[in-house]
C-alpha cells in the first residue's frame, strides 16, 4: 500500500511532515497567543480583586527576592495611597505545591487569601479551596494569632485528615507575611 522505503524518501517524508506540522502550529500559536495572555491576566486580576480591599486603577506588578527566592506581588492603591499588597507564595502540600495569592493590607493584616493552583487529594486536601477552611484567614492579624495549625501549637483550624495541606496553606500565608515585611522594609530604605 505504501511506497517502498529508501533513505531519500524517508528523510524527505519526515522532513515534509515536520515542516507542515510546525507551520500549522506556528499559525495556531499566533492566533491563540493573545487570548491565552488575556485569560491568564483576567485570572490574576480576579484573584487580586478577591484578596485585597477595594481599589482604583490597575494593580502594579513587581517582584521581590526574599531568602534567595523571587516572589511576584501586586500593589493596589486607593486615592493615591497604597491600599494593599497581593502576594503570591507557595508551599509543598501533599500532592504538589499549594500556590496562594495572599492579600495583606497596609496595616499588616491579611485581608483574604485565594488558591491559585493546587493538586491536593479531591475530597480531602482539595477542601482548602472551600470557604469553610479558607475564610478563617480573612482579617487574620499575624501579630495576634500564630500561622500554624493547632496541632503544632498555632491558631489555624486544620481540615480533618488533611493536616499536611493545612500546614502548607499556613506556611504559604506565613511566607506571604514575611514577603510583606520585606517589601515594607525595602520601601522604608528607599525613603
Amino acid at each position: 500500500m505504501a511506497v517502498q522505503s529508501s533513505f531519500k524518501n524517508m528523510t524527505l517524508c519526515l522532513f515534509a511532515v515536520c515542516i507542515v506540522s510546525s507551520a500549522l502550529l506556528a499559525a495556531v500559536y499566533a492566533v491563540t497567543e493573545e487570548p491565552i495572555a488575556e485569560a491568564e491576566h483576567a485570572k490574576t486580576v480576579r484573584a487580586i480583586a478577591v484578596v485585597v480591599p477595594e481599589f482604583d486603577g490597575e494593580p502594579v506588578a513587581d517582584t521581590i527576592e526574599v531568602a534567595g527566592k523571587k516572589y511576584p506581588y501586586y500593589i493596589v492603591s486607593k486615592d493615591g495611597e497604597p491600599a494593599g499588597y497581593a502576594i503570591t507564595s507557595s508551599a509543598s502540600g501533599y500532592g504538589g505545591p499549594v500556590k496562594l495569592m495572599v492579600g495583606v493590607t497596609a496595616d499588616r493584616v491579611i485581608y483574604n487569601t485565594t488558591v491559585l493552583s493546587q493538586s491536593e487529594t479531591p475530597g480531602l486536601g482539595a477542601k482548602c479551596t472551600e470557604p469553610a477552611f479558607a475564610d478563617q484567614f480573612k482579617e487574620w492579624n499575624p501579630a495576634e494569632k500564630t500561622l500554624k495549625v493547632k496541632k503544632d501549637g498555632g491558631d489555624v483550624d486544620a481540615i480533618t485528615a488533611s493536616t499536611i495541606t493545612s500546614r502548607a496553606y499556613a506556611v504559604a500565608v506565613e511566607t506571604a507575611v514575611a514577603v510583606y515585611d520585606a517589601i515594607v522594609a525595602e520601601n522604608n530604605k528607599g525613603e
Partner: protein
Amino acid sequence: MGKFQLITKGLVKENPTFVLLLGMCPTLATTTSAINGMSMGLATLFVLVLSNMAISATAPYIPDKVRIPAYIVIIAAFVTILQLVMQAFTPDIYETLGLFIPLIVVNCIVLGRAEAFANKNSVVDSACDGLGIGLGFTLALTILGLVREILGSGSAFGFKFISGDGILVFVLAPGAFMALAYLIVLFKKVTAKKGE
C-alpha cells in the same frame, strides 16, 4: 460497511473503554466528575477525527518504515493545537484536565486507530471511524464520571443533590477502578443479551 455502521460500531461493538480496554490512563484519572470525563472524551474525539483524516490522506505517500514517527508527529501537532485552543478559550477546563491533554499524544486509541484503520481506508471512512470511536470514548468517560460523581460527591454534572460528602473513595483512584470494573460487567451483560 456503511458510514452509519462505522460510527455506531465505536459506540457499542468496539467501544474503546468497555470492550477494547484502551486508553485506561486518562479514563481512570480524569473521570472524577461527569463534566471532566466528558471534556476529556471530547478532546480525544477532536484529535481522533482530525488525525484519522490527516493520516488517511497522507498514508499512501509515507514510506512504510517511517510511518510511526510520521503519525506521531501528525497526532502531536493536533494535540498541541487543541492544547493552545483550550488554553485560550476554555482555561478552566484546561486547568482541570492539565497534564492529560498533552498525554493524548500517547493515547493508544489514537495511534491504534491510525494503524488499524486510517492508513488503509478513505478519508471520509476514517473520519467516521474517528467520530465513532471518539463518541464511544466520550460516552464511556461521561458515564464513568457520572457514576463516580454521584457516589463520590453526591452531585451530577456539578449539581449537588445531597449535602456534605458522598462515598469519598469513588473520587479517588481506587474508586475509579471499582466503578470501571462494575461498568464493564454491566456493559457485557447488556450487550451479550442483545447480541447473541
